[in-house]
Structures are given as structure tokens and as C-alpha cells.
């Protein structure tokens, strides 16, 4: 089922079942980000074919929680929510510029402005773009999923032009709390299950997912550390470049042009090295991070299934007791049948979801690793050329 159709003249038009969501704009204010969520749709249950609303991060979390707590979706992997936007570091620096205008000398101010424009601002921009992308991916996954796209909470999220429920701080604790309870509840349910899990498949899945999730987490942490250090290395070039310029200034003679050229080389290399760090972050770290969250969502699914199994077990026991006492048998039978059906459906669904998860992951990794390699090659080649050119210039000055 496709949302879009390519016309003969190259225009994209919607099929009569489309729901296309994107984040068309984003605004960063003091301590929050406002996303403009833009929807185009041909579905009947919306008032207009095209509209937009402004949402903040907490409202995305609200939406995620609505899916998470809905038993209808128990058998599905709920797309992990986007991470909280965090530009504190970059924003601080830019703010300093605005505030410092009065206190710094004109020279200092200009220098800081230059540095910020050349280095800090692009970083800020990159972080900003990333957070927009993550929020967008969350929505597009929902909008393209056969079940999720029908959900009324999603529709409210997309269309309702007022603020959604108040942003209760408690939600965060809840989300965090949920994750924590994941551990304890799993044990709990394992203990309650008297019948061995009929599907070995799921037990294996749970184990391997747990291990996989752990490794992904570690990989994410390590990659983050590496890219951070890489940025530090790149930034150290700035000071060296500046130092060479100052040296050239106090050393007039045959050396000063030379030193200026070397300083220039360092500055250009800095930009490239910085981009390498960013791309490693984007292609490698983010992929690991995303699948760390996704695998967590998969584990959540398996826990829900176990809950269901426990309920089924309990219903079985209740039925037995009812039969013994010869009381309320019919009700107990009904409950047991329902529990059985629910369990079966969740198991079937879960199996599909897990296979889908595998495929998704495979493609995502493939894409990211290819892009990572291509970018690494590109940047290394550019740096190579840069140095070649610098050397040529310097040889001329010899």
C-alpha cells in the first residue's frame, strides 16, 4: 500500500489512502524546541487534506505512551520515542555571544563571533537537524504502519491545534520507571509461569535480544566517546592555526608567508576532521543508538507477551478451580478462551514483528555502513588533496 504515486509529469500525488507526515519547521527557544508537524492526507477521518500543528518534545512522548499502554498493540513493537533535544552546550555558547556584546571589547566580540559562526554554529545546526530527523522518523514510522496509522491518538496529535494534555513531569519518571520495571517484571512473570514457554523460539529471542541490546548500548557509548574525542582533536587545530598566525605576525621575513599558509592548511583540515567526527556520529553512533532503542521496544513486546502468558496461565488455573468447585464454570471458560486467543494472537504477531525487526535492522545497518564508508573515503580524500595543495604552495615559497 503506497502513499504516493509518481505521475507522468513527475509530480507526486497521493493515493486515496495516504498519510504523509513530516516536520516542516522547527524553532529553538530558550529551553524548548517547537516542531511544526505537517500532514498531507487523503484519509476520510481528517477534516482537511493538509494541515499543520506545533508540537513540543513532551507531546511526542505522550503519543508514544498512548501506544505503549494500548493492549491492542500489545503484539507490536512500538517505535521507540525520540530522545530529548539537548543543545545546552551549543546554545550556551551562542547565548554568551548575545550577552557578551556589552562586556567585551569590539575586537574580542568580533573574534568570538567569527569563531562561533565558523565552528559553533554549524555544530549547533547539525545537532538541531539531528533532533528534528529523529522526531520525524518516529512519526513516519507510525504513519506508515498499517495498524498504528489508524490510531485516534495519532490523529489528535496531528490535527488538534491546541496543546495536548499538560506536560506532567511524572511522565518521564513513568517512562523511566517503565524501563526499570522491565527488569523486575520479567523475573516476576518468569517465576509465575509454571508451564514452560511453549515456544522455545521466544525464549531464545528474549535472550539474544537482551544480549544484543547490551552490546548495542556498549557500542553506542564507545562510539560517542570516540566521536567526541575526534571533535576535540579537530578543535585543537584551531589553536594551532591561530598560534601560527601570531608567530607569523612577530616574525616578519622569509618565514611569515610560509607560516600563514601552514596556518591556513590547519584551519581547512580542522573543518574536514570535524566533519569526519560528525559523520561517524550520524552514521555509526546514531544507527547503534536507534537499534538499541528498537531492540528495547522489541524486548518490551516480549514482556507484554509474557504478561499475557501469565494471564492465560492464571485463567487456566481459575478454570480448573471452577470445575472442581463446579461453580461459575462458564465464566471461567469464557475468560480462559479469551486469554488463550489473546495469547495466541500476540504470539503470532510478535513472531512477525521480530522477523520484521530483523529485516529492518539489516537494511538500516547496510545503508548506514555503506554511507559511513563512503563519507570516510570522501573526507580522507579531500584531506589528502588539501595537504597536497598545501605542500605545492609551500614548495613554491621555498
Amino acid at each position: 500500500m503506497g502513499d504516493r504515486v509518481m505521475g507522468d509529469d513527475g509530480t507526486v500525488s497521493l493515493t486515496d489512502n495516504s498519510l504523509i507526515v513530516d516536520i516542516s519547521d522547527a524553532l529553538s527557544e530558550k529551553d524548548k524546541v517547537k516542531f511544526t508537524v505537517h500532514t498531507r492526507t487523503t484519509l476520510k477521518n481528517f477534516n482537511k487534506p493538509e494541515f499543520h500543528v506545533v508540537r513540543q518534545h513532551e507531546e511526542f512522548i505522550w503519543l508514544h505512551d498512548r501506544y505503549e499502554e494500548n493492549p491492542v498493540y500489545a503484539g507490536y513493537i512500538i517505535p521507540p520515542p525520540p530522545p530529548r533535544p539537548n543543545f545546552d552546550a551549543s546554545r550556551e555558547k551562542l547565548q554568551r555571544l548575545g550577552e557578551g556584546e556589552g562586556t567585551m571589547t569590539k575586537e574580542e566580540f568580533n573574534k568570538m563571533k567569527q569563531e562561533l559562526e565558523a565552528y559553533e554554529f554549524p555544530e549547533y545546526l547539525a545537532t538541531f537537524k539531528k533532533t528534528v530527523a529523529m522526531h520525524e522518523v518516529f512519526l513516519t514510522r507510525l504513519a506508515s504502519h498499517v495498524m498504528f496509522r489508524e490510531d485516534e491518538h495519532l490523529h489528535v496529535f496531528l490535527e488538534f491545534d491546541q496543546d495536548l494534555c499538560a506536560r506532567p513531569r511524572g511522565r518521564f519518571q513513568q517512562f523511566g520507571g517503565f524501563v526499570k520495571s522491565l527488569g523486575s517484571t520479567t523475573d516476576q512473570y518468569y517465576l509465575n509461569v509454571t508451564v514452560r514457554d511453549v515456544h522455545d523460539f521466544f525464549e531464545k529471542q528474549m535472550n539474544s535480544l537482551t544480549e544484543y541490546h547490551g552490546k548495542l548500548k556498549e557500542g553506542t557509548v564507545k562510539t560517542d566517546k570516540m566521536t567526541e574525542k575526534h571533535k576535540e582533536v579537530a578543535d585543537s587545530y584551531i589553536k594551532i592555526s591561530g598560534g601560527l598566525v601570531q608567530l607569523a605576525n612577530i616574525d616578519p621575513g622569509p618565514l611569515d608567508k610560509y607560516l600563514m599558509k601552514v596556518a591556513d592548511g590547519f584551519e581547512k583540515a580542522r573543518k574536514l576532521e570535524s566533519r569526519v567526527a560528525s559523520d561517524e556520529d550520524l552514521k555509526l553512533a546514531d544507527t547503534l543508538r536507534y537499534y538499541m532503542r528498537d531492540s528495547q521496544a522489541a524486548m518490551a513486546l516480549l514482556v507484554r507477551r509474557l504478561k499475557c502468558l501469565a494471564t492465560y496461565e492464571a485463567a487456566n488455573r481459575a478454570l480448573e478451580r471452577a470445575r472442581q468447585k463446579n461453580k461459575d464454570i462458564h465464566a471461567a471458560e469464557k475468560a480462559q478462551t479469551e486469554a488463550c486467543e489473546r495469547f495466541d494472537s500476540i504470539s503470532t504477531q510478535a513472531k512477525e514483528e521480530l522477523l520484521d525487526f530483523k529485516t529492518r535492522r539489516l537494511h538500516a545497518f547496510r545503508k548506514s555502513l555503506i554511507e559511513l564508508a563512503e563519507l570516510e573515503i570522501k573526507h580522507a580524500r579531500t584531506q589528502q588533496d588539501l595537504f597536497k595543495k598545501s605542500l605545492q604552495n609551500l614548495q613554491e615559497l621555498m
Binding site: 585543537s236 622569509p254 555503506i370 564508508a373 580522507a380 584531506q383 605542500l391
Partner: protein, 478 residues
């Protein structure tokens, strides 16, 4: 200051023509040794090296005179070091070359008495060496001893002597304590020292006057164990004395303000100070870059291992393989980062450090000139005093003492003349040395940066290759 000036040892084993030692009295030799340039033009470069051997006698004569500190400085001493001027030596040495390498650091002995010995290998076509290729074993204190000898001989006339590598007591202790030769920390330190010693010898050998110095040549080519330069040990009595003298010197440098007649020196000093400041900052920042890059290498290793572990628990074959290849690639990238950090350090960082030391040597030469000036001023003051004393005696009619006073006046007149000449000479010498120093510095910087960029470029090429090799693996997934 003017403490124990030991006469340089006489070399029986050095194959040179020898001049007869001149038994002149003070004044004659002073007159005789006017512009050493005149002497040089007549004679072959070799003979002048004997000038050193005359000093011994001169000093002995001088020591008999006045005991007061200033006057004890053997003013003559400098004038009889008839070393060849740089112009002559450089004119001769058009296509001469010398290449010194230091290899094979070896641990000699055991326990606390152990030390590292380095093999100093020289290739040269310079005629005053006995062979074209030769090697000797030297230990660190030998290098320090050599530096001390060269400083003693040449600093006074205003030459810029390349400083010897620093001692690093902690690093050395680590070596001694190291059980095996392969101790990680130890080998870094050894390599760093080896490279520093090599640069030291190379710089010294580039100086046209120092290269022909007998002590230097002996250091390079005499395959005997040099007498242990015990007074180079940091903790020895002589070491402590040296430290005290250094402090005294520093105080002198700060407290004595010379009235500068030649603006060239003032400007140069300002320039040197400026250079020192900037180089210090630059060195600090390059050091920071080196340490960040080393950390980056370690963290890259962490990523490599994570990728390897992911590969293990990944059940899809092709993805597992790709992740394993990623782990390999990151390991190779780690090695490149490490190599680059070494480049940053050995090519760039150490050069900047060397120049900070060299600029220190420049200041030392300038300071010697200041001391000469002080000496000259002092002599003038003494002369005035003696003249006044004589005049006073004449007025008093003390004819018996007037003669003696007259003799003293003449003595001090001569001293004033000689100290002024020395001052002029050192001023000229410093200008020459600075000229050569600047040429070398500029060349050094240029060559170093080119080398640095070439290395950097090579490393980027390696990265291209590694990621290029990885790309098909990534494409092969699914």
C-alpha cells in the same frame, strides 16, 4: 661566572700539525691576536685548532695577578682562542656533508648501576675525520659532558651552542626499574631520548666551527669509553654548584641593566623574546593535540572491540561478517591515529621544544656580551681610580710610590683596551652567529612543516585505502 676554567686536554692521538706553544707575556699575545681573520687567511684550517692548547699557559700567568673577582677573569683567554671564522670554514666546505644517526639503544649492566648506551654512527666526507664511516657507543652523560665542554670553550666568545637534551629523572628511574626491555613506558622514553640526542648531534654538527672542534670529533670517532662526566649528574656536588651558579647568573641577568649603544641588540632581544612566547604557546597547543590524538586512538580501539562483539551475537551471516570487517577497519584506523600522533610529536612538537632551548642558548650568548660590557665598564672605573691615586701621590710628592702607581695605570689602560676589544669582538661574533642561526631556523621550520604535511597526507591516503577495502563488505550485506 668566572670559575674553574679547565684547560682543554691535549690530544696526542689527534693527527694534526702543531704549532709551538708561544711563551709570550700577556701584552704581546694580546697585541698579536688581533682580528683572527688575518691569521686564518694565511694558514690552513687545521692549525688553528691548536689555539686551544696555548690557553693553559696564559691562564696560569693570569692567576698570579689580582685576586678580586672581576680582575681574575683571564681577559686574554678569549683573544687567544683563534678559532677559524665561520666564513672561512663554510667557504671550504661547499660540498662536504656529515650525517649522524643514533641507533641501537642498549641496556648495559644491571640494577641501579645500569645505563643505556647509544650507538652513534657517522657518515662523512669531511677531510679532518680519520675515516668516512665510523661508529662509537656513548651514554647519555657523555652527551652532556660534550655539551659542557663546548659551552666552556665557545660561549664566552659569543657562539650559540645547541643545548643538550634535558635530563628526565623520573623517566630514567623507570628504565632502571624496568624488569624487561619491553616495558611500554620505558621504550617510549628511550625512543624520545634517542631522537633528541640525534637532533642534538646533528644541530651541533651543522655549526661550521663546532664540527671541527677536537672534543666534538673525539666524541664522534674515538672508539674508547669516554671518562665518565660525573659532574653532569644532577645530584652530584658539581651539579649542585652548577645550579647555584645558574641562580647567580639569573640574578645577574635580571639586576644588571646595560646601557645599549647598538640598537641591533635591543631589537634582536625583543624579537627573540617574542619568538619564545609564541613558540611556547604553540608547543603547548601541539602537545595538547598529540595527547588528544593518542586518546582518540585508544577510543577507536574501544569501538573496534564493540563492533567485534556485535558481530559475534549477530545471527545474520553477512551482517555479522560486515561488522567483523568493521572491527578490523577500526583497528587499522586506530593504528593510523597513533602514527599521526607520533608524527605530531616527533616532527612538530619536538622541533618547537628544540627551538625553545636554542633561543635560550641565544640569550646565553647575549648575556655573555653583557658580562663583557660589565667587565669593560669595571676596567674603566678601575683605570679612573688608579689615575686619581697616581695624581694624588704626585701632589703629595710621594715619588717612591708614584712609579708603582704609574705601572698600575698602564696595566689598567691595557686592560681597558683589551676588554673593549673583547666586547667589540663578541658583538661582531654574535651578529654573525645570529645570522647563521636565523638562516638555519628558517630552513628548519620550512623543512619541518613540509615533512609534517607529507606525513599527514600519507596517513589520509592510508585511511582512504582502509575504508575503500571495507566498502564492498558493507555493500555485500543482504
Amino acid at each position: 661566572m668566572a670559575d674553574s676554567v679547565e684547560p682543554p686536554p691535549l690530544f696526542e692521538n689527534v693527527d694534526m700539525k702543531r704549532e709551538e706553544a708561544e711563551d709570550d707575556d700577556l701584552f704581546e699575545s694580546a697585541v698579536q691576536s688581533q682580528p683572527s681573520a688575518n691569521l686564518c687567511l694565511e694558514e690552513d684550517g687545521h692549525d688553528l685548532l691548536n689555539g686551544d692548547s696555548d690557553i693553559g699557559e696564559e691562564i696560569d700567568k693570569l692567576m698570579l695577578n689580582d685576586k678580586s673577582e672581576m680582575e681574575n677573569v683571564p681577559i686574554n683567554n678569549q683573544s687567544t682562542i683563534a678559532t677559524p671564522t665561520m666564513e672561512e670554514v663554510e667557504a671550504e666546505g661547499g660540498d662536504q656533508f656529515i650525517e649522524i644517526t643514533i641507533t641501537e639503544p642498549q641496556k648495559v649492566g644491571d640494577g641501579m648501576g645500569a645505563y643505556m648506551a647509544y650507538r652513534v654512527l657517522t657518515h662523512t666526507n669531511m677531510p679532518f675525520f680519520k675515516k668516512r664511516e665510523f661508529a662509537v657507543m656513548r651514554r647519555f652523560s657523555d652527551f652532556l659532558g660534550l655539551h659542557d665542554k663546548l659551552t666552556e670553550k665557545y660561549l664566552k666568545v659569543g657562539r650559540i651552542i645547541p643545548p643538550a637534551p634535558e635530563k628526565n629523572v623520573i623517566g630514567k628511574a623507570k628504565i632502571k626499574m624496568a624488569q624487561s626491555e619491553q616495558a611500554g613506558n620505558g621504550s617510549d622514553f628511550i625512543e624520545r631520548r634517542r631522537a633528541a640526542l640525534e637532533r642534538y648531534l646533528r644541530r651541533t654538527s651543522q655549526h661550521p666551527v663546532l664540527i671541527v672542534d677536537p672534543d666534538f670529533r673525539e666524541f664522534l670517532e674515538c672508539d674508547i669509553e669516554l671518562p665518565k662526566a660525573t659532574n653532569t649528574s644532577a645530584l652530584s656536588g658539581a651539579g649542585v654548584m652548577r645550579f647555584i651558579n645558574k641562580v647567580g647568573e639569573t640574578v645577574n641577568k635580571i639586576t644588571y641593566k646595560m646601557e645599549e649603544t647598538d640598537p641591533w641588540f635591543e631589537n634582536k632581544l625583543v624579537h627573540v623574546e617574542g619568538l619564545e612566547n609564541q613558540l611556547r604557546k604553540l608547543h603547548y597547543n601541539v602537545e595538547a593535540m598529540v595527547s588528544y590524538r593518542k586518546e582518540l586512538a585508544n577510543l577507536t580501539n574501544g569501538v573496534s572491540r564493540s563492533a567485534a562483539m556485535l558481530s559475534v551475537c549477530e545471527d545474520h551471516n553477512l551482517l555479522s561478517r560486515a561488522l567483523s570487517q568493521l572491527a578490523d577497519t577500526e583497528e587499522k584506523v586506530e593504528a593510523v591515529h597513533m602514527e599521526q600522533a607520533n608524527t605530531d610529536f616527533y616532527i612538530l612538537c619536538e622541533m618547537l621544544k628544540d627551538y625553545l632551548g636554542l633561543l635560550g642558548s641565544v640569550r646565553d650568548a647575549f648575556h655573555e656580551r653583557t658580562k663583557m660590557f660589565q667587565l669593560w665598564q669595571h676596567s674603566q672605573q678601575m683605570l679612573t681610580k688608579k689615575r686619581e691615586a697616581k695624581a694624588k701621590l704626585e701632589l703629595q710628592g710621594r715619588t717612591d710610590k708614584v712609579d708603582q702607581a704609574g705601572v698600575e695605570v698602564i696595566e689598567w689602560e691595557a686592560k681597558v683596551e683589551r676588554s673593549q676589544e673583547s666586547f667589540d669582538r663578541i658583538s661582531k661574533m654574535i651578529k654573525l652567529e645570529m645570522d647563521r642561526f636565523e638562516k638555519c631556523r628558517i630552513q628548519d621550520f620550512k623543512v619541518t612543516f613540509i615533512k609534517y604535511l607529507e606525513n599527514h597526507m600519507e596517513h589520509q591516503a592510508q585511511l582512504v585505502k582502509y575504508w575503500d577495502d571495507f566498502l564492498p563488505e558493507a555493500k555485500a550485506i543482504a
